[in-house]
Symmetry: C2
Subunit: 367 residues, 2 copies
């Protein structure tokens, strides 16, 4: 039985796969693998008394209060055996692992540096993390300034055993995802059967607000480019030309997907005479079949699956980040899934992860 | 009974209020009411052999194929008695009326011109349209470059009998809706009990894509600033400080609202220690109570109401525009509402309109 039951034993554990978790990279993940002239430009965090500042390639890409940076750091954030103990305690079987500091590489503007950072990270992830447990499913980072570079790294990642490769929700300037410059990457991903994973908040921020409410407004802003990415890949015919290609938007929730699908069907039908390319399937059909999306706490996610018939809802713990469920995972899962149809829970918590990644989950954990 | 029944008589009409319809302004709506130096800068459309081009204040703000501009223009687009006959035929009781050409006034960058255009439009709407039938519920346009101007026109509109006033989903540069420069307008709207209506596609376009899929991608882009507007008004405490204030996002669908509400609750809860202002209610509570949203065709709209418990779903015909239901209104309503709980249909098709605008709908039409 893939999930706990509330009947009889209110405390039985609900086991879940997490489609959205993060490693906290060791400080030397890049410096130990890159030549000095690149290592000094790799992502690094510097703390003063009040702030943590992240630098990449000479740019300041992020600055936050130390209190914010340090909030809710789980014991296993940097230590793999502690992480696996956390997983057992929280009831998480497998985790899709995105980077943390590495998220900022998607702001790099130098091709050589980005290539080197992505490659070093992927080697580290395969050698040091994925080798430790098959419960840890890494996502390969791709350099995005050149499609040739992205294809080469994607193929290397496939050879290293990765099942998903990561792009930015906002691509580099001038390289919108509807342009044919990307065609070789879509074909390579489809050929290698690697899912394309887009994590919210990656690439250049489209907008940043200041003033009243800005913290929450900007949190909302991060989920907009994920919607845009799905719209672009669908309308430009990428999903249509590669029906086996799977796209995953991580950490942005899942219930926006049916809304977007309806919006696109309306746009395609009502403006269809003026649309190019023509599509062989309705946008909603492609999206419901090929696009996956993960949520943490959203009450609307299960109704998106059950009432709006969007099948590819994934749950994620976002461990060990502040937006995630660490410390309250079982409480969250019980609130969300305690009373739902077991088939729904099985699909959202377990098998959609396997569908996306081509894995096979054994529950309960026996490793 | 507020809507038709499929039992016994498959052709019985489903009557609905439309929260999102448009007038097509007569060519002289501005020129006949403005002094010459302003009249020549008011919105105007110029046709050549292939294209229709819209100019406002010396800017070219829109250019489209004549075929696109002329598609699906209903007989009553410009003629009020023909419009009322269209409403009867389509099964629409009342319409909220937004402008068409006037949508482009939300790009004006000159305060005097904007003030004059909004005022002339509102006078025309009250004198020439709303006076013809209480089934035609105009939305007043507001000039947005100065809050003082906006407040003055809102108060004039209230005196003229308007029940809603229109803002742009994207405000003028430097005047984001979270800033306190707007406070007097929120207070004036709450005092006058006028709903704030935001129609998709108004204000400066945040992004425009070119190339494959652009027609549909840009259709999706138009619904993003509506999401942003709700996020901003909620996070900045505007809804919290004015619990009677109602906000309406027109023509962007309705099922994105629960997704946004969940996103905001997560952001406020998880980042709440760093958020300012503090809110007395959860974002989702304020949004579900004070924010209304209208859809035309979306299959996900009724599940957003029934399964996600978002109460303020409104339907709209978008008459006479191409994105709307003219010519297939009854077919669309039967597909969407033919099998749903009558209480759902009554709320979405009839009484939410009255809740938003403070009107009382008599169905069937007896006027």
């Amino acid at each position: 039985m893939p999930h706990g039951s509330m009947k009889g034993d209110a405390m039985s554990k609900i086991w879940a796969n997490s489609g959205d978790s993060h490693v906290m990279e060791p400080d030397d993940v890049w410096t130990s693998r890159l030549p000095a002239h690149l290592a000094e430009r790799a992502p690094r965090a510097v703390k003063d008394e009040r702030h943590e500042t992240v630098y990449v390639d000479g740019q300041t890409v992020f600055r936050t209060l130390n209190a914010f940076a340090e909030a809710a750091r789980a014991p296993g954030a940097r230590d793999l055996s502690a992480r696996l103990a956390d997983l057992d305690a929280e009831g998480v079987v497998n985790q899709v692992l995105f980077p943390s500091m590495g998220l900022w590489t998607y702001r790099i503007t130098d091709g050589e540096l980005w290539r080197a950072c992505a490659s070093a990270y992927n080697s580290w992830m395969a050698e040091e993390v994925m080798s430790a447990s098959d419960r840890l499913v890494g996502v390969a980072m791709l350099p995005l300034l050149s499609t040739e570079d992205a294809v080469a790294e994607l193929q290397r990642a496939a050879d290293l055993g990765f099942r998903a490769a990561m792009l930015a929700t906002t691509p580099p300037e001038g390289r919108d995802y509807n342009l044919d410059v990307w065609d070789d990457l879509w074909a390579a991903a489809a050929d290698a059967n690697l899912a394309l994973a887009f994590h919210v908040g990656t690439g250049a921020d489209p907008r940043m607000f200041r003033g009243p409410g800005a913290v929450v407004i900007n949190y909302v802003e991060t989920f907009i480019p994920g919607q845009r990415t799905v719209a672009i890949l669908t309308a430009a015919g990428v999903l249509d030309r590669h029906p086996g290609l799977k796209v995953f938007i991580a950490e942005g929730g899942a219930s926006w997907v049916p809304a977007l699908a309806d919006r696109m069907d309306e746009g395609y039908r009502q403006h269809g005479a003026f649309a190019s390319p023509k599509l062989s399937r309705l946008p909603s059909e492609m999206i419901f079949e090929q696009v996956y999306a993960s949520f943490q706490h959203d009450r609307s996610a299960i109704p998106a699956f059950e009432a709006m018939e969007y099948p590819n809802v994934l749950w994620g713990d976002d461990y060990p980040h502040l937006e995630g469920t660490y410390g309250h995972t079982q409480e969250t899962l019980r609130q969300l899934f305690g009373a739902v149809d077991p088939a729904t829970a099985e699909r959202v918590l377990v098998s959609n992860f396997d569908r996306l990644l081509g894995t096979t989950t054994r529950v309960p954990v026996t490793a």
